[in-house]
C-alpha cells in the first residue's frame, strides 16, 4: 500500500482544530474535576456523616457507570428531565468534571489519610484551627503524594475525551472519523490522530515529571 503524506497534510488543519477542542475539554474538565474531587475527598475524610453520605453516593454512582453512559445521560436524558438544552461541548466538559471528580476524590482521601496524624496534632497543639492545619501543613504534603495518581487521572481523562465522538463533539477523534469517512484513508488519518494524541500526552507526562521533581514526596 502507498502511504500518502499529502493526505495528512490536507487533514492537518481540521485535526489540529480537533486537538484544540480535545485540550480545551480536558483542561476545563480537569480543572473542575480537581476542584470537585478535592472537595469531595475532604468531605469523605473529615466531613460530617450527612455530607460524607452524599460524597459516597456520588463516587459510587460515577465509578459504577461508564463515561459514555454518563455523557449520553447528560446530553440526551437531562434535557428531557430538567428541560434545559445542553450543547455537546458543555455536556462533554461536564462529563469530564463529574467523572474525574469521583476518581480524584478517592485519590485526595487516600493522600490525606496517609499523612501521619502527629503532624496534624503538632499543628493543632500550636493553637492553629483545623482549617489552617489542613491548608498549611497536611494539604501541601498530601498534594505531593497525590501527584503520580493525579497524573494518571489527567492522562486518562484526556484520552476519555475521545469517547465524546458519540455526541458529535468535534474533538480530535471525531475529526479523524469525519475526514476518514470522506477519503477512506484510514492508515494515514488514524496514524496522524494517534501521533497527535501521543504528542499531547508526552508533553503532559513531561509537565508532570517537572512538577514531581519540584515537589518531591516527603
Amino acid at each position: 500500500m502507498d502511504f500518502q503524506w499529502s493526505v495528512i497534510w490536507e487533514a492537518l488543519p481540521n485535526l489540529l482544530q480537533g486537538a484544540r477542542l480535545t485540550i480545551l475539554i480536558a483542561a476545563v474538565g480537569l480543572a473542575g474535576g480537581l476542584t470537585l474531587g478535592a472537595l469531595a475527598g475532604m468531605v469523605r475524610t473529615y466531613g460530617p456523616k450527612s455530607l460524607d453520605w452524599l460524597a459516597r453516593s456520588y463516587i459510587l454512582l460515577i465509578r459504577g457507570t461508564p463515561l459514555v453512559v454518563q455523557v449520553m445521560f447528560i446530553y440526551f436524558a437531562l434535557p428531557i428531565i430538567a428541560g434545559v438544552r445542553i450543547d455537546g461541548l458543555t455536556a462533554a466538559i461536564l462529563s469530564i468534571i463529574i467523572n474525574s471528580g469521583a476518581y480524584v476524590a478517592e485519590i485526595v482521601r487516600g493522600a490525606l489519610l496517609s499523612i501521619p496524624k502527629g503532624l496534624q496534632e503538632a499543628g493543632l497543639a500550636m493553637g492553629l484551627p483545623f482549617r489552617k492545619v489542613l491548608r498549611l501543613i497536611i494539604g501541601p504534603l498530601a498534594f505531593r503524594r497525590m501527584i503520580p495518581a493525579l497524573g494518571n487521572q489527567c492522562i486518562t481523562s484526556l484520552k476519555d475525551t475521545s469517547l465524546f465522538i458519540v455526541i458529535g463533539v468535534g474533538e480530535l477523534t471525531r475529526q479523524g472519523q469525519e475526514i476518514m469517512a470522506e477519503n477512506y484513508r484510514a492508515v494515514e488519518i488514524w496514524t496522524a490522530v494517534a501521533v497527535i494524541y501521543l504528542l499531547i500526552l508526552t508533553a503532559m507526562a513531561y509537565g508532570l515529571k517537572y512538577i514531581e521533581k519540584r515537589m518531591p514526596i516527603l
Binding site: 496534632e121 503538632a122 500550636m126 484551627p129 501541601p140 504534603l141
Partner: protein, 242 residues
Amino acid sequence: MSMVEFKQVVKSFGSLTVLDKVDLSIEPGEVVVIIGPSGSGKSTLLRCINALETIQDGDILVDGRSVRGGKEEIHQIRLEAGMVFQQFNLFPQMTALENVMFGPINARGMKKAEARALAVQILGKVGLEAKANHSPAQLSGGQQQRVAIARALAIRPALMLFDEPTSALDPELRHEVLKVMRDLAAENMTMVVVTHEIEFARQVGSRLIFMEGGKIVHDGNPVELLSNPPSSRLKDFLQHVH
C-alpha cells in the same frame, strides 16, 4: 492560681476508662515528671491538658481556662502550652528555621521578619543555629527533637508538655535533648514530662507522679519516692525501667 488543675477528670475510649477521676494541680515553675507502665494513662493525661484528647467528665483548667470552654478557650490554652512529641512531628516540607517560625507567624500572627529573628534566637538556644537551613530529614533524631522543642518554645508558652521526648532516640542522642530540657527547667519553665528517664526525674524534677490504671498512685518528691518507693508496685516498676 495553679497553672494546671485537674478536677475529677474522667477520660475514656469507648468502654475503656483511661483516666479515672483524676485530681491534680500543677503550680507555676514546677517540673512534674510522670512515670508509669504503658497503658497507665500518663500520655493521655498530658494530651488532655491541651485538649488533644477530649475528656468525658470533670474539668481541666489551664491558667484558669477550661478545656471544655469551647473553641476560643482551647485556642488560648494551646497558645499557652507548648507540646513536644515522641515522634518529633516536624513539618518535613520546611527547614528547621521555617518549622520554628511557623507557630509565631500562623498562630500568633507575627510578622515574618520578626518571627525569623525570634526563630534564629531560639534555635541558638537549643544549639542548632548552624542547622537553621537544614530540612528535618537532614538532621539526627536528637537534633530534630531539639528543633521541635524550639518550635514549641517559639509560641512563647507558659507551660511545656513533653510526651516521652526521648523514647524514639538512640541512647547516645538522648542526653542532648535532656540537656535542653534541663536548661529550660533552670529558667523556671513550668514543665510536665511523661518519660521513662528516671535520672532526669531525680535530678531535674520537682515532683514525681506514678500512675497506674488511670489513677495517680504516688505524687511526691522525686528523690524520696525513688530512693524509698512507698509501694511494692513502684519498686517493681523502677526495677523494670532500669
